[in-house]
Every structure is written in C-alpha cells, then in structure tokens.
C-alpha cells in the first residue's frame, strides 16, 4: 500500500495569495494512499526541505509530491532532498501550483480546486513511480565551438587551456568576427584589433585547438557527452598546406571591384582574397561567384602566379566527422540591413551609413586608413548626425527589444569623429541613454562634456538630400517636441542588432530552442543563462541576445567552465527516463511480436533486434530491444506499439493512465469527512 506525502508550498505570496494552500493540503490528505499532507511558506528553504526529509523517515513515505513551482525550476532540488532522506529521487514528483495555477488565475475557489486537481494527478502518478537508477554514459572530452568571434575565441581558449581538445568552426574565411571590424572599443578606446589579434593567433597556434574556417556545421547526432558532428569545410580552391599566404595571387587578380565584406561594403577586394591583413588563417579564398575562371571558364592568373602551385580550382567541399562531448554556440549577431529604413534613405544616399561602416571609416586599417572621409565624395564631413535606436525599441518595425550596445557605440562614434575632425559638429538623436556598466555613464558624459557632442532627445522622422546636404528632420522632446532640422554631411544609423542569418536552421540542427527574434534561448533567464535546454549545448555571446564585448567574453568563459565541468568526469549520469521493451515468462518471452514498426519511428536508432533462442540455439522469436545508451526517452515508440510491449520509465502506461483517471474521478469525494 502506498504511503504518499504531500507538501504544499506557499512560495511566500506567490502561491499563497491566490491558492488556499491549507485547504489544498487538507483535501489532498484525504486522497487514499496519502498519509501525510502539510503546507509551508517556503518548501525549497532548508527548514522546508527538512520537513520533507523528516516526514519521509518518520512516516515511512513511499512517494513524495511537492506542490510548489514548476518542476523545471526545483525538481532537482526536491529530488535531491528525497534522496538525502534515503528515498529514491524518482519517487518524488512536483505539482506545478505556481506557473500553472497561482500566477495565471485570480484568487478564487476554482483556482484552489485546480490546485487540488494538479496535486491529485501527481499523487496518483507517484503511487506508480518506480525507483530508478541513473544511467551512466561515457564523455568524449572534446568540445565543439561554433563561431570564431570574440566569444568563440574566448570559449575555445578557456576550454583548451583547461586541457581539453577543442574544434572551432567559423563560417567566414577568418576568425575574428565583428570585433575585428571595430576601430576602437568603449569605454577605454583601446584599439580593437590590438587586443583581439593576439587571441586569434593564440587560437591558431594552440595545440589543443583544431580550427576549421570557411566551414559550417553539416549535421549533429547523439546526446550530451556523445555527440557526432559532421562539418562541411567549404572549398577555398586552395591547398592550405602549400599556401604560405604571400598574397601574390590577390595582387594579380583581374577582378578587384568586389565590395569588401570586412569593410562593410565600403572598400573593394579581388575575387581571390584574404578578408583582412591580420586574418587567421592568413590564407586566401576564391569567391566563386565573382572569380573570372569560375564564371567565364578562363583566367587562372592566380594559379599561374602562385609560387607554390597551391591553387586548386577543382577542390571539392570536404566533410569532416568528429565526436564531441559538449558544444558551445557562439555564432554572434548581425545588424539590420538597408531596405529597413526607407525614410532615412539608407542605401539611397551614400553618406547615410550604419555603425559597422562608420567603424571601418574610423579604423586605421579601414578603406580611408582612418581618415574621416565620407563615402560619396571623400570630403571630410563638417556636420555629423548619429541616430540611435535605428530599428530598436520600435514595435512598429517589429523589433521591440533594446539592442543594448548602440547607446555606447554611438557615444564612441561621436567621440571618435570629434577626435578626428576637431571643428566638426556632432549631433546624436536618442530616445534614452542607457549607459549601465562600469565606466559607461562616465564615458557618455565625456562625449557630451569634453568632446562637445550635441545630444538631442527625439526621433528623426526623415532624411532627404538638398543641394549636397542631408536634411535631417527630427524633434527635440526636451524643448516641447519643437521641430529640429539639421543640414548634415553624413549620417550614422545605430542599426538594431539582430540574430545572425541561419540562426534558425542552426537551432533546428542542434535541437535547441530559440525566441521569436531567432536568438537562442537559455535554459533559465536567471539561473542557467549559458545553458540551453538541450543538455551539453551551451551559449556564448550575442547569439543569445545583443551583447557588448566584456559581456560576451564573460559568458564565453562561463560556457567554457560549464564544458570543463562536464569534462571533469569520465562518465556522466543521465536521467533513466528511457523506453523499455517488456520481457515476460516463457513461452512468450515478450509480448513484442517483432513487427519493428517502432524502429522506423525512433529518431536515435535506439531500437535493436534481439533474438531469443533455446539452449541449443534454436531461434524462438526476434523481439525489439532498446539501447539505453542511445534512447533519449521521447516515447514515440511507446505510443506506436500496438501490443503495448514498449513502455517508458517516468511516463509509464500505468502512470499516465492513472493521471487521467485521477483528474476526472475525484477519489476523495466518496471519503467520509
């Protein structure tokens, strides 16, 4: 006979304010099989947990139901407590009275009734729970890092320095990411490349790091500790072992008029190119769309010039397979593209540029070698307008969030401009200035006070060209929304940060969840910010949400330490919530008839054939068998099996059936009170 304990948590006011916890405890105490039912202010607190432990020992409980918050929040906590009291942790279940009840309903009898139902469901379930032992699986101590921006670089180095192998995959021909495009960085104004490039080189030279640039994740199989990945190494049309990166080929290429991605389209590059001088690896790649040979079928100048005969036009993409134990996603972000701002004339007027373009114009390694020249005619802009929140915080444009970094880099931009053009006028149109962060507010003040940047609180309605000037029409809300019109030579838009293209496809390949903006979702917004909901896959940098460099680096180190933690053990224990094919007494041996319809349904190829034979080896029957290492416990096979020969631990036929029955047959109704 079951001896179930029910523990109802008030969660302070969170549950207690809407649900009559005392009544829940009292009513549930009458459910047959329940021998102990109490409510308490904070079940997750030490005294709360001790109540559970004591009850388990004193009342000899065979099962525990904690009616509190979501199991996704505290199931581990209470299962640990249960285990500490000597009861198998899988004999503890949680009823979700907070997220699924008190927080979503008003204070009413109906709400308390629902709470009681939710507990009853779990009581009937836990009566049928079985003690389960965790499954041990080996860990492959190699990490896969996706994305070679600052976050990916930091994560790779940290993991590698912890003594583990790392495979770093970068989509572009060089690592470095957006940070390598920046001129100076706030709030210290130190040169971005000066601090980044040493790290890039370290990655290239680190014995524990295998670097695949110009490569993308092809597919992912397996599970935490035991992932199998395929990586597509796109053809550079080049034998990297032979190439010494002399760069001769790039000088001889006939087609040199291709907008340079690294310079955000401001500069030009040849068809065979190295993205930027400090690129890692410093080896060229042929851009097949624009290469004369690939498009017209003749040229081959680079091949002729190459002193090492390293050019390989017929080089195919290569698929590299690898086994990894943990994965860090650091695929970064992107900014809104031009067609987004018709009213600002972006794309229409050469001198309306976005943040990255300004970074390149301001950068010593940029197309103007750091001199402030505007794109249209190379003149020095006398009047600059910077527009913050270009797209951000703009529900109309569908981007409701704040891109977070714009306030700071806009201040930086204005400052850099003033440093380069001392007599120039700089205006910043802004909604609010969000300068939270060490030395950030001070930085903005410096822009305004020391560098005389004019901050105008208001939005810009439109920009148009009039005799060589860009007329910026806005309003100053601090002066009673009085219209402001500025004749500018150049305008910089702080365009919103968005998820990098392909984020959705990648998420689907990795089976991690993502939000409505296609940024990857963390397992818990506060307590598990670097984990995804998929065990063994972690997040670093702006792929989760727009972030500045220090934040990205911090999260990267966080993710790295998670991976290191994962790799610190030779075996990891997995929840044993997996499918099992029944075995029965002879002559049946199993009710499975071996139709193997389940096999085609299994996403993990976890269902194998087992031959049952007599002592003298005569085949009796062939039945299905689940490989516990591979099964992830989705239960698709369970619902598919006609003879109910497969069941799944934690969600057994008996358990889920009892839950439905419990919900609709109020068992305590016919209990004499």
């Amino acid at each position: 006979m079951a001896r179930i304990g029910v523990f109802v948590c008030h969660c302070g006011e969170n549950i207690g304010a809407t649900v009559d916890c005392a009544k829940v405890a009292e009513t549930c105490g009458k459910i047959p099989g329940v021998v102990h039912s109490v409510d308490y202010k904070y079940m997750c607190s030490d005294p709360g947990q001790n109540m559970i432990k004591d009850a388990i020992r004193e009342k000899k409980l065979t099962g525990v139901v904690v009616a509190a918050c979501s199991p996704r929040m505290h199931e581990p906590t209470f299962r640990r407590a249960t285990a500490e009291a000597g009861l198998n942790p899988f004999l503890c279940e949680m009823a979700n009275l907070r997220e699924h009840c008190s927080w979503v309903h008003e204070k009413a009898d109906a709400t308390t009734d629902k709470a009681i139902d939710l507990v009853r469901i779990l009581v009937e379930k836990v009566k049928r729970n079985k003690p389960l032992l965790p499954i041990k699986v080996p860990v492959t101590k190699t990490a896969l890092v996706l994305g070679g921006g600052i976050a990916g670089i930091q994560a790779s180095l940290d993991i590698a320095n912890a003594g583990h192998k790392v495979i770093l995959v970068e989509r572009e021909p060089s690592i470095g990411g957006h940070m390598s495009q920046l001129s100076e960085t706030f709030p210290t104004l130190d040169c971005s490349q000066c601090i980044l490039t040493p790290r890039m080189v370290e990655v290239a030279q680190h014995p524990n790091i295998t670097l695949y640039t110009y490569s993308e994740l092809e597919s992912l199989e397996g599970f935490i500790g035991n992932f199998k990945v395929k990586i597509r190494k796109k053809s550079r049309s080049l034998d990297e072992k032979l190439c010494i990166g002399c760069g001769l080929c790039t000088t001889k290429c006939p087609n040199k008029r291709i907008p340079n991605e690294f310079d955000a389209g401001l500069g030009m590059r040849p068809a065979i190119y190295v993205p930027f001088p400090q690129a890692v690896p410093n080896k060229p790649v042929i851009d097949k769309e624009n290469c004369t040979y690939y498009t017209k079928g003749k040229c081959k100048l680079c091949e002729k010039i190459c002193p090492r005969n390293a050019i390989r036009y017929d080089q195919p993409d290569e698929i590299v397979e690898a086994e990894v134990g943990g994965i860090v996603i650091a695929t970064g972000f992107n900014v809104l593209n031009s067609d987004f701002f018709p009213e600002y004339g972006y794309g229409k007027y050469k001198d309306v540029v976005n943040g990255f373009q300004f970074e390149r114009l301001a950068s010593a390694s940029g197309p103007t070698l750091g001199e402030m020249k505007r794109p249209s005619d190379g003149k020095t802009p006398e009047t600059m307008v910077f527009i913050a929140c270009a797209g951000s915080r703009d529900p109309a444009k569908g981007i409701e969030y704040c891109s977070k970094i714009c306030c700071m880099y806009t201040a930086k931009h204005a400052m850099l401009y003033r440093h380069k053009v001392h007599h120039g006028k700089a205006y910043v149109f802004y909604m609010d200035i969000r300068a939270g962060g060490k030395m950030y507010e001070e930085f903005v003040r410096r822009a305004i006070e020391e560098d005389g940047v004019n901050y105008v609180r208001g939005r810009v309605s439109r920009i148009y060209e009039k005799n060589g000037k860009l007329i910026v029409m806005g309003a100053d809300t601090l002066l009673g929304a009085q219209p402001v019109e500025i004749e500018a030579d150049m305008v910089v838009l702080a365009t919103a940060g968005i998820a990098s293209e392909g984020a959705e496809e990648l998420a689907q390949k990795l089976h991690v969840s993502y939000d409505t903006y296609k940024f990857f979702t963390e397992a818990h917004p506060k307590l598990r910010p670097v984990e995804t909901n998929t065990a063994g896959i972690f997040l670093a940098g702006a792929c989760q949400a727009p972030k500045d460099i220090p934040e990205s680096v911090a999260q990267a180190s966080g993710a790295a330490s998670k991976v290191a933690g994962l790799f610190s053990q030779d075996e990891l224990t997995r929840e044993p919530l997996i499918a099992v094919v029944n075995r029965t007494a002879p002559p049946q041996y199993s009710t499975c008839v071996g139709c193997f319809l389940c096999q085609t349904a299994c996403p993990y190829q976890a269902i194998e054939k087992e031959e049952i034979r007599t002592k003298d080896g005569k085949l009796i029957k062939t039945v299905a068998k689940v490989n516990p290492g591979l099964c992830q416990g989705c239960g698709t096979c369970v619902a598919l099996c006609r003879s109910k020969s497969i069941d799944i631990e934690g969600y057994t036929h008996n358990q889920v059936y009892a839950e439905v029955m419990a919900l609709l047959n109020r068992s305590e109704d016919n209990v004499n009170i």
């Binding site: 009710t591 071996g594 389940c598 085609t600 003879s643 109910k644 020969s645 036929h653 008996n654």
Partner: protein, 267 residues
C-alpha cells in the same frame, strides 16, 4: 481452375511445399479454406468469385506453420496482405509460394518478394464501389447522425473478435484489449467497450490495412466495421500518399513523416 490444381499438385509432388492453402467446397454452396498436403487431393481445390476469405491469416497460425512450407492461393488483397506481413517481419523472403489469381482469373506463381511487388503494382488496389458509396453516405451525414448511426451498429457488437481473428494484420500475441495494467479497453461488450474497441482496432490497422473487407465478412452480426478501416486507409492515401501492402520495404504511414505534412487542423 484446372491450371491451379495442376500447379498445386506439382508443388506438392516436387516437395517445393508441404501444404497448399486454398479454397474448397464448403457447406451450403459456401467455399471454405482447405489445406492440401497430398498431391492426390489437389483436385479438391476450387476458385470462383465467392472465394473471398483472406487466407493470409493462416500463414501466421501456429497449427498451419507446423505443416511446413506453404503455397497459398491468393487474390490481389491477399497478396498485399502477404507483402505487408513481410514488411512487418512476419513472413520471411522465400518462405511461401504464392499462387496469385488476378481479377480476370489469370494464375501466376510467385516465389520472391520482388515478384510479389511487381504483381501488385500491375494489379492496383481495388475498393468495392459499394463500400466507397457507403463511406460517402456516412460522410454526408451530420455529426449527430453519424454518432447515432455508429452507436446503433457498434452497440450490437458482442466481442466475439471475429474481426480480429479473421484479419491477417491482427497477429499480436497480446492484443491491447487483453492488457489490464492498465485496462485500456474493456473486454466487456457494453457501449463504451465496443466504441473504444472499434476505434482502437481502426487506429491499429491504420496504414497496414489492405481493405480486403474480411473483418466485415467475418462479423456474424453484419456490422460494417470495414468502413472504419477503409476510412483511415483513404485518409492515409489522400494525405500521405501511402497504401499498405504495396512494398515489402516498410514505409508505415504512422512511423514515417514528411516535414510538410498537412496540418491545417493544428492551430
């Protein structure tokens, strides 16, 4: 069917097979399944349009298996049942000789699964027009009418399981209705037990049924249960483009999927 008799005789004579499962004369002008083991008895084999029972059901019957390698007289639906059984690992390649008879009465001897597939592809699935007509008639009813229609029909069921026993695809050693931990469906033939039983049967046969109609023929109470399985088969054909018993390499409609399967019913 002189040819059939000779073929059967030869197969038994040459020890190709130990038993020929076919049709013979029954009582009251009805044909019945017969099991010829002696070449001399091959003359007892008959075949005419009344020979409708799906003999494939006997291929999995222990008592019949004991008799040795079989040859089986098979109409198109029976051949399709055999293919489906092979796809579901119940019949091994080469374990049965099929004496297939086309609708126009042509006899073909089939020994391999490949040839079996060729046979069915050249003799496409056929649904009796009167069944389709019944199907449409019911689909045209209002929801209430449909409910009352099926309640009238199904409440008569007394759970003799002739539908299950006569169906080649119902070969489970333990049917879900015999599970009592939990008792998914009541074996009692009250209304609920009957409605749940026939829904479950249709769902378990879905994507595997070849619409031979044997279940309805077997039903002593003439309940048109074949319409339920026909309905699901039609849905699967229309929505997923799959028909059971056409290929021995399994493509079970409910254990495969296309990422762009219709989902207008999901919101």
């Amino acid at each position: 069917m002189k040819e059939l008799k000779e073929k059967a005789r030869d197969l038994l004579k040459n020890k190709d097979v130990q038993v020929v499962i076919g049709y013979g004369d029954g009582t009251g002008g009805k044909p019945r399944a017969i099991f010829i083991r002696d070449p001399k008895d091959a003359d007892r084999l008959i075949f005419d349009e009344k020979c409708e029972q799906n003999l494939a059901v006997y291929l999995l019957k222990h008592e019949v298996k004991k008799l040795g390698r079989p040859a089986i007289v098979a109409t198109v639906p029976v051949v399709r049942s055999i293919i489906q059984l092979a796809a579901e690992n119940q019949i091994a390649e080469g374990s049965v000789v099929i004496l297939a008879i086309t609708p126009d009465g042509k006899l073909t001897e089939i020994k391999t699964l490949k040839d079996t597939e060729t046979f069915v592809s050249s003799n496409p699935p056929y649904t009796r027009p009167e069944d389709l007509e019944k199907l449409e008639r019911i689909e045209k009813m209002t929801v209430e009418e449909r409910w009352n229609y099926w309640l009238d029909e199904l409440s008569r069921c007394f759970k003799c399981y002739a539908c299950r026993s006569s169906c080649p695809m119902c070969y489970c050693e333990r049917c879900t209705i015999e599970c009592n931990q939990p008792q998914w469906v009541s074996p009692a033939s009250h209304h609920l037990g009957n409605v749940e039983w026939h829904i479950m049967r249709a769902m378990h046969i879905a994507g595997r049924c070849v619409n031979c109609g044997e279940c309805a023929r077997a039903c002593p109470l003439d309940i048109p249960i074949n319409l339920l399985t026909l309905k699901v088969s039609e849905d699967i054909r229309k929505n997923f483009g799959l028909t059971a018993g056409m290929s021995a390499t399994l493509e079970y409609a409910l254990s495969t999927f296309k990422t762009d399967d219709k989902e207008e019913f999901i919101r």
